[in-house]
């Protein structure tokens, strides 16, 4: 199914979410066409993580809906997950397994079993030496574990990338590498939504901002 | 079923202790639950009165009756 370029792939309609009784944000709406990147910014505790978790279906919003290719993600569920790659605050890397095993497992589960061989390639492009790839992940540093988590997502075939502060704990070299991968993905017709505190340049990409925490309803302003 | 005398009624055929303690415990629990609820409600009203404006209290009490 060739992606029609004008058709908005990823739409959020007046989303609202709360933590306990306190409303974090309300009537958040945006529509992303292929080849667009949305950056969610806002102070700590303004609900960035909650919004991203609602977008990938981990959390039910109090109000509003999220549509992927015109269908509500609650109805799509598994099909939606096939097109989604999510990296949250937690890396989701099993300490007892080596980075290779972690990425290979994720790759096999995401029904892209064929390129299990590309796991070493993904890890090495993110700066993990072959020797490091064979150690149990728990001995790696936080930055290296973050790379393993990103390696799982950055080289898959998912069309929609949702990353929660992907650059956290990464050094400058890694940040450039990851930013480049994300830009390439978006330029190639993918969609990306990410939250971050550092202002990282994405060359050749139409970037939109969504500010959370502003008292009035936050809507995505075109740059 | 008529009881000879009040004493006989309480003796309950020699098993009075069991019968009356069962009924007593049941009564205790039921009444206790009611009182606990009433106390909880009164405490809530008090915290609400301190925290909130007077109008909120009237609204609560008005929809009471």
């Amino acid at each position: 199914m060739s992606p029609q370029f004008d058709f908005p792939m990823f739409v959020a309609q007046d989303l609202a979410a709360a933590r306990g009784e306190r409303t974090l944000f309300s009537s958040v709406s945006f529509a992303l066409a292929p080849g667009e990147l949305l950056e969610v910014t806002g102070a700590n505790g303004s609900g960035k993580t909650t919004l991203l978790r609602v977008l990938c279906g981990l959390m039910q919003p109090m109000a509003g809906a999220v549509h992927w290719r015109g269908e509500d993600i609650r109805a799509l569920r598994e099909d939606y997950h096939r097109d989604l790659a999510y990296v949250g605050h937690l890396n989701g890397v099993k300490g007892e397994l080596t980075p290779l095993e972690n990425v290979a497992f994720a790759r096999a589960m995401a029904a892209q079993g064929d390129d299990a061989a590309s796991a070493p390639l993904a890890l090495s492009t993110l700066g993990l030496t072959t020797q490091q790839q064979r150690l149990p992940s728990k001995v790696l540093s936080q930055g290296q574990k973050r790379r393993v988590a990103l390696a799982r997502a950055l080289f898959g075939r998912a069309k929609l990338w949702i990353f929660d502060e992907p650059f956290a704990a990464l050094d400058a070299g890694a940040i450039a590498l990851v930013a480049e991968r994300i830009s390439a993905h978006v330029r190639g017709g993918g969609v990306a939504v990410l939250s971050s505190h550092q202002d990282v340049p994405f060359d050749g990409v139409q970037r939109r901002q969504l500010r959370l925490g502003a008292p009035a309803s936050a809507s995505a302003a075109r740059p | 079923m008529s009881w000879g005398s009040a004493a006989e009624f309480f003796a309950m055929g020699g098993r009075g202790w069991y019968v009356w303690s069962s009924f007593g415990v049941t009564a205790l629990i039921l009444v206790g639950e009611m009182l606990a609820l009433r106390a909880r409600r009164r405490a809530l009203i008090r915290t609400l009165r301190e925290g909130a404006s007077q109008s909120a209290i009237e609204r609560i009490e008005s929809n009471e009756s």
Partner: protein
């Protein structure tokens, strides 16, 4: 879809091999608990033979109970659970895979070790075989129902005690049929019905529990 199911079981077993201590500590706990009873009840083989089925089964129940928190807690802590929920495969199937993996790491070892303890209680021959069969047939239900409890109490304070409070009452039918089977074997009575009832419970649990457990997981990771 199905390859994913076995992939997940393979990973769980791989994890267990890397953390060899877990299965071992489970078995040691099982053996110690069963071996404690003679000190309380006295060493006469007559009485031990009578209580053997009950003691072994309650110990198996407690051992399974203790290892239930391992089902989701580690994945919840390191974020692997989120990735599991976001897999392109139904979460119910993935939970079933986890339950089967958990059974392979608890129910099966317990069923293999149980006959040895039976010897300790003066049982020989058929009852030992029935004991192992009963535990093997009943423990899938323990893992399945336990998975619901583990998912419900994920990340809560006092998780262990709370988990046992929720799950042990639901284990009672399994305990009754399981201990009943061994007891019947010990007294030479027919134990076929018991084993059938046990496997029926297990099959029902393996079909229904993943649904409830998946729903509980979705609630827990919010």
């Amino acid at each position: 879809m199905i390859s994913g199911f076995f992939q997940l079981i393979k990973r769980e077993l791989l994890l267990a091999v890397r953390r060899r201590g877990d299965v071992l500590s489970l078995l040691v706990f099982f053996v110690i608990v069963v071996s404690l009873f003679p000190f309380g009840v006295g060493p006469e083989l007559e009485t031990l033979r009578e209580i053997a089925s009950g003691v072994v089964w309650v110990a198996a129940l407690l051992a399974t109970m203790l290892s239930l928190s391992r089902l989701f807690a580690n994945d919840y802590a390191d974020g692997a659970l989120e990735q599991l929920v976001l897999l392109p495969m139904p979460l119910t199937l993935m939970v079933l895979a986890k339950i089967v993996a958990h059974w392979l790491l608890t129910g099966l070892p317990l069923a293999l070790v149980a006959p040895l303890l039976g010897l300790q209680y003066g049982l020989t021959g058929v009852p030992l075989l029935v004991m192992s069969l009963a535990i093997a047939a009943g423990s899938p239900a323990l893992s399945a129902i336990g998975a619901i409890g583990a998912a419900l109490t994920l990340g809560l304070r006092g998780g262990g005690v709370l988990l046992s409070l929720l799950v042990l009452p639901l284990f009672v039918p399994i305990l009754i049929f399981g201990a009943g089977a061994v007891d019947a074997a010990v007294h030479g009575a027919a134990f076929g019905a018991h084993l059938l009832l046990l496997s029926a419970c297990s099959i029902a649990a393996l079909v229904l529990a993943p649904l409830a457990s998946a729903a509980a997981l979705r609630i827990a990771i919010e």
